[in-house]
Symmetry: C2
Subunit: 205 residues, 2 copies
């Protein structure tokens, strides 16, 4: 049997993406139910909202999941051992910066900017997947530097944690800078500079 009952008048997946854009731009707490209801499918009622998603928090979790499975994939290269570590780092920086400056969605990265909600203990579990993703990306940068050392490309004295934190913090800062209107061309030039640090850490041969 197909689906029974009266059919839903809006597209559920599309609604999640619209909610994701709102949460991306304003964060969890600042985005209100009425904003979500107005935006979704050109306007839905409260009961339709709760029948479809359960609660604001449940929808946020789905929106975050949607983001992690799409836009956040720009950092996947960090975990691809087929890619040489230097390329993996540079590719990730450029892909992420480009995505964060794209039009068609809010500037910056939802994972980086959904941080403010954390302090309130009542919403700690809401911010947890975002924090986990940041931690994962940070670890990915560190891992690439470690790969560079293990391959003999980088000097044994290279501080992988310091270097990884540098790449990671720069990329987090891009989210704020992008909201302030910095253009992708400037970020790309900055990344070109930043990658010189990798070369400076090379083994003298």
């Amino acid at each position: 049997m197909a689906q029974m009952g009266r059919p839903r008048v809006f597209d559920r997946q599309q609604a999640i993406e619209q909610a994701m854009h709102l949460f991306w731009e304003q964060g969890y707490e600042t985005t209100s139910l009425s904003q979500l209801k107005t935006q979704i499918g050109g306007g839905i009622s409260a009961p339709s909202f709760y029948a479809a998603f359960g609660s604001k928090e449940a929808l946020f979790k789905e929106a975050v999941q949607c983001y992690l499975e799409s836009y956040a994939r720009v950092t996947d290269g960090l975990w691809d051992d087929e890619i040489p570590p230097r390329e993996a780092v540079e590719l990730t920086l450029r892909r992420s910066a480009k995505m964060q400056c794209e039009s068609g969605h809010p500037k910056g990265c939802m994972v980086a900017l959904g941080t403010m909600s954390a302090p309130k203990p009542e919403h700690a579990h809401v911010a947890k997947p975002l924090a986990a993703s940041r931690s994962r990306t940070h670890a990915g940068f560190v891992r690439c530097v470690e790969r560079g050392i293990a391959m003999g490309e980088l000097s044994e004295e290279t501080d992988a944690r310091a270097m990884g934190t540098m790449f990671s913090s720069f990329l987090l800062g891009v989210s704020i800078s992008a909201r302030d209107g910095i253009k992708i061309s400037v970020f790309n030039a900055s990344i070109t500079e930043l990658m010189k640090l990798w070369d400076a850490a090379r083994n003298e041969r």
Copy 2:
């Protein structure tokens, strides 16, 4: 004549600092009136609050001003021409990172983290002084690189905007990383790495 009328039972300047800590940690919109009233002077009433500060927004502006005149001064070195540009950049990075990791107040920088409120046009003017401060710091980094070029220390081909954006975005990212628990020792090691970029841009002589 001194002040007339019934004397205020709480210290106004101290109240501004307590409010600043709340706004610093949670942002403008997420911090509620009842939180502020509870925190200030061990608890004050709504009329006392409005008699003293006028409105939530007015208090926020005073809190931001208080922050800019104290903690935010860590970046003042960027505009001190007495300091050689390389030292000015490094000093600013280390001072700010240290401040952001200090205990006794929220982690990170209030100027960097008070961004989310911006999207809502109703609160644009509230976020404006924060955006102005970020813009000023960004310009300060660029200016130091330009000073380095003008002094003949850095190569003429150095892209000052790219380099300044790199320092600035890294420092903005420190706010998020600090909230995630990264320690000051790691940031200091990252800054040591980052400063090698300045040396890499030196004039070959």
